[in-house]
């Protein structure tokens, strides 16, 4: 019996914005608790929601990126339930007409492309956050009303690996588009995972939902645990013990724990939010938004491989973070050869910023400066070894690279100058010249060494070897 796992994901991602999605409160969850709270965030009587157009725009943008259908009108629904993290007693979300439905997105899993089907994406508000102490719970309303995009896939994923690849892909999209910081450490991404098992080709098995999994590695662990748990039950003939239920992931034990059965599911009594009038989404607006969609990681990767001839690996490294890819593209725009630029970025620059824990924004050496260094290698002014020195000196001193490419340390590439230096060296080492001619050919390196010693390493090595070959 071959069991196939079928997985659906719900991914909640907090959006970037100045104000919250329905209030004027600042979108600043990680600041001092309860410092970014206005009357509406506390649901004080008489307060009313007003929609943040910037958030709607970005929600529509994401809907287009996911190849979803956009609704004709934007409107919202109330999801009613009582919980201390929800001061209004309802969450404003999109139930009837989400900002996007029936989409699909191509991701890469272990080098293979796979299409993930999107059920819907909708715009909603986050709840307050609860911090459970020993005998009391603290409520931080900073998070209350922060814009959230909830993305729901069809059950079309079949392994933890695929699930994580999808989540990584979406994180990259959020960051490339600047719609979200998409930082799991800040709790900006939260996932619900649905897992069911059935024999291949058979109808889907009973679905188990795991709520609020907060990191990608936990998503993988939760899926793998659930696959193991369910397959053990099926294989031992205890299939009926798999119940349609909601479970939670327990980080400490790496297991999932039952919360409630489907029968206890809450009836959210959805109905249209009456305080936000229907808003017509015009074709012009959509087209406008479409033009703002930036080229995303996978598209750039394809371009780097096909157009620039980079390896799959290098292209993958370059597009992983948008700022790295942007840096690389600036280099290309300045006319640096793609392979040379890729080499500098993937080797020297990434190593440097990782070592000093910098972001590229904090990195002093601009693509323009890199261009200066590369140009000087190309015109023979400096060797690639010297170029590395210039690179580090530029960064150590926060000064332009030109400062470290002087006449004094410039490479000697003047044939006549080198010839006269070499003639003197050969004249002073007659014994070795003789031995060389007698067959001790490894003495060639000795002469190169002497030239370098004489010129304090500034002799153009290619030219040096060329002249030595002629003279010997």
């Amino acid at each position: 019996m071959t069991l196939l796992a079928t997985i659906g994901l719900e991914m909640h991602c907090e959006m970037k914005s100045n104000a919250k999605v329905f209030s004027r409160g600042k979108n600043g969850y990680s600041e001092i608790p309860n410092s970014n709270v206005v009357a509406l965030d506390l649901a004080l009587p008489g307060t009313m929601p007003t929609i943040n157009k910037y958030c709607v725009k970005n929600a529509l943008k994401m809907s287009m990126i996911l190849n979803c259908e956009q609704p004709e009108y934007m409107y919202f629904d109330r999801k009613n339930y009582y919980y201390p993290d929800l001061p209004k007693g309802f969450q404003i979300t999109q139930f009837h007409h989400p900002v996007g439905i029936n989409g699909n997105v191509v991701i890469e899993v272990n080098g293979e492309r796979k299409s993930i089907l999107i059920h819907d994406i909708h715009l909603e508000e986050d709840t307050a956050s609860l911090d459970h102490g020993f005998d009391s719970t603290y409520i931080d309303y900073n998070r209350c009303g922060i814009p959230l995009l909830e993305l729901v896939t069809e059950p079309c994923i079949h392994s933890a690996l695929e699930a994580v690849a999808f989540l990584e892909h979406m994180r990259s999209v959020y960051k490339y588009t600047d719609i979200s910081e998409a930082d799991t450490k800040k709790g900006q991404i939260r996932c619900d995972v649905n897992v069911s098992l059935a024999e291949e080709g058979a109808p889907l098995g009973t679905k188990v939902e795991i709520k609020n999994v907060n990191s990608f590695s936990n998503v993988a662990e939760a899926i793998n645990y659930e696959i193991k748990r369910q397959s053990e039950l099926i294989e031992s003939g205890r299939q009926d013990e798999i119940e349609q239920e909601t479970r939670r992931f327990d980080e400490e034990s790496g297991t999932t724990i039952r919360m409630r059965s489907k029968a206890d599911a809450i009836d959210y009594k959805y109905f249209v939010e009456p305080n936000i009038p229907k808003y017509k989404i015009t074709k012009e607006w959509l087209e406008n938004i479409r033009t703002e969609i930036t080229e995303l990681a996978l598209e750039r990767k394809d371009k780097y491989i096909k157009q620039y001839g980079l390896s799959d690996y290098d292209a993958g490294v370059l597009v992983k973070e948008r700022e790295v890819s942007d840096y690389f593209e600036s280099c290309i725009a300045l006319g640096i050869d793609a392979k040379i630029a890729a080499n500098w970025v993937t080797v020297q620059i990434l190593a440097y910023i990782n070592k000093y824990e910098l972001t590229l924004n904090e990195f002093f050496l601009t693509p323009e400066m890199l261009k200066t260094i590369v140009d000087k290698i190309n015109d023979g002014t400096i060797s690639s070894k010297q170029a590395k020195e210039v690179f580090f000196k530029t960064l150590e001193n926060n000064k332009k690279p030109e400062e470290f490419i002087s006449k004094e340390n410039a490479q000697i590439s003047d044939r006549k100058e080198l010839e006269s230096i070499i003639e003197v060296i050969l004249a002073n080492n007659q014994k070795q010249v003789e031995e060389y001619h007698n067959g001790k050919s490894n003495l060639f390196d000795f002469f190169v060494g002497q030239v370098m010693k004489e010129t304090r390493g500034k002799a153009n090595p290619v030219l040096t070897k060329e002249i030595l070959n002629e003279k010997l």
Partner: protein, 482 residues
């Protein structure tokens, strides 16, 4: 106390000071409180305002207690908010403040506006100044009672079903609910957001215009608010209604259609006929139309479904967590339950139960969504009629204010229920709607209602203004019957 426009004249010619008006209003408020229990809070330290910024500058007024008022107790007449002092003003309060009007009290209402009797506020029942053994109707009970008693020239009200227009009728004054969105609802404690309107109770149509002129306007805090900058209500009154066309719903006004015909119903209809004659004399055309009886009969239930559903959601914020008094309990559920169980009166809990029921997944289609469909059909029918008519005119009720002891036993049969509730059509469609007094039955007032199409406020106000001039009830102050 005179009308706004009369007081303006007196203030501008230095015959009276704002302080004197405020002092007088406060004295009258205390007298009225004794007799009618109109107020939750009387602002004894209210100060006159001598700077003239608008027609309303220096003039005392009353605020219904479901408006958020900075630093002033705002209870919605509910125990859940009995100690709630907001830190922000409703937009309409802010506008009146900028205009220089002086609030002198906050008025008693049915708890959160959910009632039509004026008897369910947490500070007790409101009595009708014409006859304290009778109700004012509600929910803007205290606002109607104090304006009728002459305490102030105007008071803020809110209207979800007929909560301004019904008490206005029973108190012999003017009650006006403008087009939905004309006045911002920001800061109004919500009952049913799609039906809630802010409006005013006055003793003249001119005053209704003058006050709404100040209160209306688009508000970026209320996305349902509308731009009405080209609408000037007071200036648009002409007193000329020649050629205007009005209709009434004939099938609700035929005596033989009613099972039991009371003297009061007969008298109400007779006086309504006289009112129509006044309009015809002024050059208007008035016609009876047939309105689909099936739709009419569905109106009260439709209102209950929609208003209760929205109410149960709107008032879910009353948990005692982010504001209000924390309920006792060792878990959050216990704590919320206790806060709500002790805070809300049984009447509104009943509405929450209905609201939850009609919204439940298995019931939503049958009740809530069907109610939305009926609402749409009624509104479409009205809009169809408004293509041919300027306004609908109807009596506000089957007679005068009910005796308090009959508060719970108002509705006798279906047709009377429809007659008593037809003004909710104005809320379904967001139509501008005004009630003015049009007669007396045994020395107690009755009213007539005029409702028009959306944003046609100027037109219906002008009709009401013209009609008011042909009767003797303008600036009528309640005379207690014995």
């Amino acid at each position: 106390m005179k009308t706004v426009l009369e007081l303006r004249e007196l203030l501008d010619t230095n015959q009276v000071t704002s302080q004197a008006l405020v002092d007088e209003a406060l004295v009258l408020a205390h007298q009225n409180q004794e007799k009618c229990n109109s107020f939750v809070t009387i602002l004894d330290d209210a100060k006159g305002n001598h700077e003239k910024k608008s027609l309303l500058s220096g003039i005392p007024y009353v605020i219904k207690d479901n408006f958020s008022t900075t630093g002033i107790l705002s209870t919605g007449s509910s125990n859940t908010l009995k100690n709630y002092i907001p830190f922000f003003n409703a937009t309409v309060i802010e506008k009146l403040k900028e205009a220089g009007a002086v609030p002198i009290a906050k008025s008693t209402m049915d708890e959160f506006g959910m009632g039509g009797t004026g008897t369910t506020g947490h500070t007790g029942i409101v009595k009708n100044p014409w006859d304290p053994s009778r109700m004012t109707a509600g929910s803007s009970a205290g606002s109607a009672a104090c304006v009728a008693a002459g305490v102030v020239p105007f008071a803020l009200g809110t209207d979800t079903g007929d909560s301004i227009r019904k008490p206005a009728a029973f108190c012999g004054i003017v009650g006006y609910k403008p087009t939905y969105g004309l006045i911002s609802r920001y800061g109004l404690f919500p009952f049913a957001s799609s039906l809630d309107h802010v409006g005013v109770l006055t003793r003249s149509v001119e005053d209704a215009c003058a006050t709404i002129d100040v209160m209306k306007g688009m508000d970026e805090r209320d996305q349902t608010s509308l731009d009405s900058s080209t609408m000037h209500l007071l200036d648009s009154l002409t007193g000329d209604i020649k050629g205007k066309k009005l209709f009434y719903i004939k099938n609700l006004l035929e005596l033989d259609a009613y099972e039991k015909v009371s003297d009061s119903l007969k008298s109400t209809f007779a006086q309504f006929e006289s009112t129509l004659d006044l309009l015809r004399n002024a050059g208007a055309i008035v016609e009876g139309i047939e309105f689909d009886m099936v739709l009419l009969n569905a109106i009260p239930t439709t209102y209950v479904c929609i208003s209760c559903a929205e109410a149960t959601s709107n008032l879910s914020n009353m948990t005692g967590f982010s504001f209000g008094s924390r309920g006792e309990g060792s878990t959050y559920i216990e704590s919320m339950k206790n806060h709500r169980t002790l805070g809300f009166s049984p009447l509104i809990k009943r509405r929450f139960v209905i609201g939850s029921y009609v919204l439940q997944k298995e019931n939503q289609e049958k009740f809530f969504l069907n109610a939305q469909r009926v609402r749409r059909l009624v509104v479409d029918k009205m809009n169809e009629l408004f293509k041919h008519y300027d306004a609908m005119i109807m009596p506000c009720s089957e007679g005068v204010a009910t005796k308090l002891e009959q508060a719970g036993n108002m509705l006798q049969n279906d047709l009377l229920e429809v007659l008593e509730n037809h003004m909710v059509i104005g809320n379904f469609g967001g139509f501008p709607s005004i009630t003015i007094p049009n007669g007396m039955i045994e020395e107690l007032p009755i009213g007539v209602n005029i409702t028009g199409k959306v944003l046609d406020d100027e037109n219906i106000l002008n009709i009401a203004y013209t009609l008011e001039a042909k009767m003797s009830y303008k600036n009528q102050i309640a005379k207690e019957v014995n």
